[in-house]
Assembly symmetry: C2
Homo-oligomer: 184 residues x 2
């Protein structure tokens, strides 16, 4: 096993962060990793909004929790019932990844960029999670307008970054290995 394979296997979604901010150097390396994802025809159809303003992070957390409370999915509503639940998990940095809507397959390219960012963070001993909850926030168009996303881009997902508050769990959730067939 080499360091790349180890990072891929050991990376975990982190849902509890220290308040300390990551360094600009670390952030730059993580963003650059995103930019080095492959893309359809090298279109590089991504944009990154780095949110480190504590008031805005708390506002995003509250907004998502309000949306979750109204969600039809039962497991989401039960999260809202937990008074300790925070949709942004106390992370000091949130990167909103947006895609250029005229990109040939921009969601796919942006997903590759996000996975690069998660692995880059892992390699720097920084916790991260692909924040699906952000899609609740994106439903509020008037909120999204405040993020300064350039014209022609659509917000896609969020990535939280920060130092882990707890030790990394030893094992990733069990994988289903029975998902391969061969034609030889």
């Amino acid at each position: 096993m080499n360091d790349v394979l180890n990072a891929i296997k050991n990376r975990r979604s982190v849902r509890k962060y220290k308040p300390d901010q990551i360094s600009q150097e670390e952030l730059d390396l993580i963003l650059e990793a995103g930019m080095y994802a492959p893309s359809y025809g090298n279109q590089q159809p991504w944009h990154f909004t780095v949110i480190q303003n504590q008031n805005l992070l708390e506002h995003i957390d509250r907004t998502i929790r309000e949306e979750i409370a109204e969600a039809r999915i039962e497991s989401f509503r039960s999260l809202r019932a937990n008074p300790d639940f925070r949709a942004t998990y106390g992370a000091p940095t949130l990167v909103v990844v947006s895609g250029r809507k005229d990109g040939s397959d921009w969601r796919v390219d942006c997903s590759a960029a996000i996975q690069n960012m998660l692995l880059a963070a892992e390699s720097l001993n920084i916790g991260s999670v692909w924040l699906g909850f952000m899609t609740f926030y994106f439903e509020r168009k008037e909120e999204v307008e405040k993020l300064g996303i350039p014209e022609g881009y659509e917000p896609f997902y969020g990535v939280l970054l920060g130092y882990r508050a707890d030790d990394q769990p030893a094992f990733a959730p069990k994988r289903n290995m029975d998902v391969v067939n061969y034609i030889r």
Copy 2:
């Protein structure tokens, strides 16, 4: 720079392969890297069809070239005019990645799995490319049926794997770094 960041920055799409087959051990590590991608609710909505049959690989190449010849996109038609063009670039292994159609956001999860596989290959000094051309093949439903993809899964993209026929180019194509804004 650590090995993970280096793999992310140095990885290139490889479009010329040696005919030698990669080892089963290498293939297993690459597939496992795909399986360790994060996914929505840990649904792991991916399936991998490993094609190493030379006749089938050549048939896929021919089929894609026929479809490209009919494509409305001019750059694709000009590829067809090049007698040396091979849609599968002579690679000895093609992995078809399919997604479980009832997955919450299966295209995104499968994209993360593919990016993991590309980086795992890079870490093992194996060339790879995210094969967008495969979508031409998937348009022929009667061909897709021969691949043994399980019920409920939809073919998504292909990944070619093999040893590079040429040295890795020194630099990745230039990245547009002007894609970040900050809210602090």
